[in-house]
């Protein structure tokens, strides 16, 4: 099982390493012909409006390719994907590597023999060429065999085994259940983005780092939601912030069960996910509270001790119904 994961991760990183190798080789070949700083950012009409030193260009290329490679490795190796899905993911990885690799290479080539970086031009059709390279790379990636994962016997949204759990509450008894639901995947993504953002901030200033830093804040804020089941229903919010909050009131709940969820296979990723007929807060694979709502849709949160939470929710719902 783990060997398959390692091979998947290696396959995921491969296109980015290849693209990085191409970019670095090109850099080494052109090194003496490149200005310092060189033009690194271009406007829509192709003229350059930003520069970068030669050293930071190399660093930028490394961080970008390795970061994307790591992201794809996590995407492909951490989830429970079918072979078809893995092929497409792999093709998408190749396409991304091809596109990014091409743009960096085109930038280097445009800078060759330039004396004034302000006059370097990178016409917009290079983007189209990048898409072309991406398509070729995707086709190549699609042809590569993917290591076949262990067939996962799972039934997405299948019926839960047994009846809904129930907790006996005395009349007038007050009860509440609460628990943190930490997500290593989101924490990891946040950390990687934070490092990438810091490097970009150092190298390229605010404008280039703001995207990565924003992503880092979002990932970290959502990496540890706090799940509560009480007289108001089920509430999930970030542990450190009162907002944004998801709440399913008791009147909205038909019944709740605890079920094992394979995040990547059933919801296609981590975080707040929407699928036809169901939505969920996916923090990790495993135990989850799954709520059948009165409108027939499903809501799920992956959290430990979900059985207790589901039992309490059912008891509270029953009591509310009884009291009218």
């Amino acid at each position: 099982m783990n060997r398959v994961r390692y091979r998947l991760a290696a396959l995921a990183v491969l296109p980015f390493l290849l693209a990085l190798a191409v970019d670095l080789t090109l850099y080494a070949l052109l090194r003496d012909r490149l200005p310092d700083p060189l033009a690194s950012h271009f406007t829509a009409n192709g003229s350059s409006d930003g520069t970068q030193s030669r050293g930071s260009t190399v660093l930028f290329a490394c961080v970008l390719h390795l970061g994307l490679g790591a992201l794809w490795a996590v995407l492909m190796a951490a989830g429970q994907h079918g072979v078809r899905r893995l092929r497409w993911l792999n093709a998408a990885g190749f396409a991304t590597a091809g596109f990014v690799g091409h743009l960096l290479a085109a930038t280097l080539l445009a800078n060759a023999d330039a004396t004034d970086p302000a006059r370097v031009r990178l016409p917009l059709w290079q983007l189209a060429a990048g898409v072309g390279v991406a398509a070729l790379a995707a086709a190549l990636g699609r042809l590569l065999p993917v290591p076949s994962p262990v067939p996962a016997a799972m039934s997405p949204a299948g019926p839960p085994s047994g009846g809904a759990p129930h907790l006996d509450l005395a009349e007038g008894e007050l009860a509440g259940w609460m628990r943190r639901a930490p997500s290593r995947v989101l924490l990891g993504c946040g950390a990687v983005l934070l490092v990438a953002g810091s490097v970009l901030l150092y190298v390229g200033g605010w404008s280039s780092a703001v995207g990565a830093l924003f992503g880092a804040v979002v990932c970290l804020a959502f990496s540890c939601p706090y799940v509560t089941v009480d007289r108001r229903g089920l509430t999930a919010r970030p542990t450190v912030l009162p907002w944004p909050r998801i709440r399913i009131p008791l009147s909205d709940v038909t019944r709740a069960v605890s079920r094992d969820i394979k995040v990547a296979a059933e919801y296609g990723g981590w975080g707040y996910r929407m699928r036809p007929g169901r939505s969920g807060l996916m923090l990790r694979s495993g135990e989850a509270i799954v709520i059948r709502r009165t409108d027939g849709r499903e809501f799920a949160v992956t959290v430990d001790d979900a059985g207790t939470a589901a039992a309490l929710l059912n008891a509270l719902v029953l009591r509310e119904r009884a009291s009218g």
Partner: protein
């Protein structure tokens, strides 16, 4: 973790909250070093007074099961013995309950325990 309090019970609500936490520590649902819900959010969830929750937490602190720190809230003591200690405290509570049922005075209970130790 699950908190249950019954206003109809003769036991004070704060003690019932403490009993919920004690039970969770003894069962291992809450592990050493884990943070308990903030008193405010717990009071909000159960619909009880904030001071009721704080009284319960104070009691657990006196029993050496949790630490109350400014800014960090209530944390289960980070000590491998916390679980067994919580289980022991449950037994002490049970001992007291049964002794009261039998109509024993405080001195008589302490005397019994002292004789047990001898």
């Amino acid at each position: 973790m699950l908190f249950r309090v019954d206003p109809a019970s003769p036991q004070p609500l704060g003690d019932q909250i403490a009993a919920s936490v004690r039970g969770a520590i003894a069962e291992g649902t809450v592990t050493p070093g884990e943070r308990l819900p903030s008193a405010r959010s717990l009071a909000d969830s159960l619909g009880v007074n904030l001071h009721t929750v704080l009284r319960g937490y104070q009691r657990l602190r006196e029993e050496g099961l949790i630490e109350l720190r400014r800014g960090r809230g209530a944390v289960v003591v980070d000590d491998a013995g916390a679980r067994r200690r919580a289980a022991l405290m449950q037994q002490v509570r049970e001992l007291v309950r049964q002794a009261r049922e039998l109509g024993l005075t405080e001195e008589e209970v302490v005397g019994l325990v002292r004789r047990g130790l001898a």
